[in-house]
Assembly symmetry: C2
Homo-oligomer: 379 residues x 2
């Protein structure tokens, strides 16, 4: 009987109409009907990524797409810059090492954004560096890295810029062609409001060129195979039919609603939530460039962030996220992207107030709700 409310930064709630679209009888993945579906999904992805590049689809989590951007661009021994400013940034270095490549890690303190000048200097000092791997939004810290500026830095070098936008794409605009982003990755379970299981990769001309000389092994995640197959509206391997049907429905919804409105509403929810945090006398964990897609809140000294998460889950059926690795226990994170509205955000704020009070934090109950209501009322 307990209502479930998903307010963690992925998976986000799936709209009921999309759940039912995915509950229709399956069609065959090698039929003309499904080719038509793939064609529409490809067009929808290009529109969302704001690109003329091909946007490939993989049946995997976002990590599969991350791995594909190493396996298809590099060769063993190659050097690449990775921006380690959170759990997902650190993952780049792990993947590179798994493939015998050498990460040149920029260690950004968690909660801060990378300085593009640091990347520029490394690229200038070592022209053999083949790529820069970075998150648009580092989900573990709630920080946006300066992607547009990084593209300016890599533009006139031999290095490609690879952007993990799994939790960013669809939450705020990432105009791939306008910014000149070589590779942009994303996933189905964040702003695209679908269950996990689809990952995406837009691949620009510079990356296509580098791909030709890559010697790392790849098969399931081979870009060359999928560029050929998906270029003909086919999947090289069995496509996750259900998620494609869901994505078609999501694109129809986004078209009706309009991406400008989607982006604007995400901003308002983020503002409202961040105003609540301030009203509680708490700070953001994201010291620089806090994202609109989610808010990472620094817990009061004597309160365990994991307990806040557990309180919401056990008492109210509300899923928010705690901290990961070095941030575990110190923070909690709430999403503003996807199929949620102002009352979902107010619900999260109410619930967190009740948890903080229950866990012994001294503040004025209702102050966060009031601060957020004010923002929503003004917009």
């Amino acid at each position: 009987m307990k209502k479930v409310s998903l307010l963690a930064p992925g998976p986000t709630p799936v709209p009921p109409r999309t759940l039912l679209a995915m509950a229709q009888p399956l069609i065959h993945h090698r039929s003309a009907d499904f080719q038509e579906v793939i064609g529409k999904v490809r067009a929808g992805l290009k529109k969302l990524f704001q690109t003329q590049n091909e946007v490939l689809t993989f049946c995997s989590s976002g990590t599969g797409a991350m791995e594909s951007s190493v396996a298809n661009l590099l060769s063993p021994g190659d050097k690449a810059i990775t921006v380690s400013g959170g759990k997902f940034g650190e993952r780049w270095a792990l993947i590179l090492k798994a493939y015998g490549c050498t990460p040149v890690e920029i260690l950004v303190p968690w909660g801060q954004a990378v300085n593009p000048a640091d990347v520029a200097k490394l690229l200038k000092d070592d022209p053999s560096i083949k790529a820069v791997y970075v998150q648009a939004l580092e989900t573990s810290t709630g920080v946006d890295h300066p992607i547009e500026e990084l593209a300016q830095v890599t533009k006139n070098t031999g290095a490609v810029l690879v952007v993990d936008a799994v939790s960013a794409l669809g939450a705020y605009p990432i105009p791939v062609d306008q910014w000149g982003l070589d590779v942009v990755l994303s996933g189905s379970q964040k702003a695209l409001m679908l269950p996990p299981g689809l990952a995406f990769a837009s691949i620009g001309p510079k990356a296509l060129e580098m791909m030709k000389t890559s010697k790392c092994p790849k098969f399931y995640f081979s870009w060359a195979k999928e560029l050929k197959s998906q270029g003909e509206n086919k999947g090289a391997f069995t496509s996750p039919v259900t998620l494609f049907m869901g994505l078609l429905d999501i694109f129809a919804m986004l078209d009706e609603w309009g991406m400008d409105k989607v982006y604007a509403e995400t901003v308002i929810r983020s503002k409202a939530f961040k105003a609540a945090v301030k009203a509680w006398g708490l700070d953001l964990y994201s010291k620089q460039r806090p994202s609109v897609a989610l808010t990472a809140v620094q817990c009061p000294e004597n309160i365990d962030g994991q307990k806040v998460v557990k309180w919401l889950k056990d008492k109210y059926g509300i899923f928010i996220a705690g901290g990961q690795d070095q941030a575990k226990g110190k923070i909690f994170r709430v999403a503003h992207m996807g199929y949620i509205n102002e009352f979902d955000t107010l619900q999260a704020i109410s619930a967190i107030e009740m948890a903080l009070k229950g866990l012994g934090y001294a503040f004025e109950m209702g102050s966060g709700v009031a601060a957020a209501q004010k923002i929503f009322g003004e917009n």
Copy 2:
């Protein structure tokens, strides 16, 4: 308005109750609730695979699991036997080459099964061969390879036996521990009646030992990572939550119905369909060890198998499969596994009769239906 009927060897129809189970609001993939789900799925998989081995789950198509069995067992330069007796058997060699390994290909004519003595001889002549890669059921030809016998052959050698049972597992018994199968792979979209997107790998002690020395790169498909995570009822990466919920429901159905009954009914549908083929005066494409999971039919000389497939799809909304690669146009394939009953099989037989007649094949209309009815009536 046209009813859709999926009778191709995957994806197979998903039971309506399972579609609705998957249409429930998502729960968070890093919650205690979902850990419980993973725990139940792991237990269900062990029961289905009839094994005490860990059965890992990946978010990918079956090919991802195939690739994982190369990346996690071998090192570049290693030799392995592959059984090329159809499209999926040939895929092993492609994956091995992608990883810098050397396939020792046994070229089995399409429609035939591998002779275990050929494998035994190769292993004896070259003890450096590290693995034997084979399909339980070669889906492209409808042939079962002799897995139990192959396990006898590999048992006392240094080589592991890796069995792709994507279209076999759940259609007929594959007792992993009793037969001593080192690695068995499967997928969600065949006898497990789910949409595509989950792949499985059971990993026995000999394979776990070989895994320790493997030097091929892996990250997303890393067995070591997933053994650790899934051993704690977690996924190393974001789990496809919806498919897990679906699999829980499928296991509940299979428990109610009983696997003995599932296997027995699959056999009867296969017998009935094969009796119809005989009544039409046609031959099976599978000259040896035709599978019960599907039937591959050799088309009459002057009839294009692709046209039969298209006729059923366009006129009746029925999806069966054509031939692949060298068998394209020469055959059509109909599945007997999963959520189908005797009337689905009779429907396929009726439809094929109408297509064959329409395409100019001379035979007695209704003869296949009658032959199948007889089998169903007797059982």
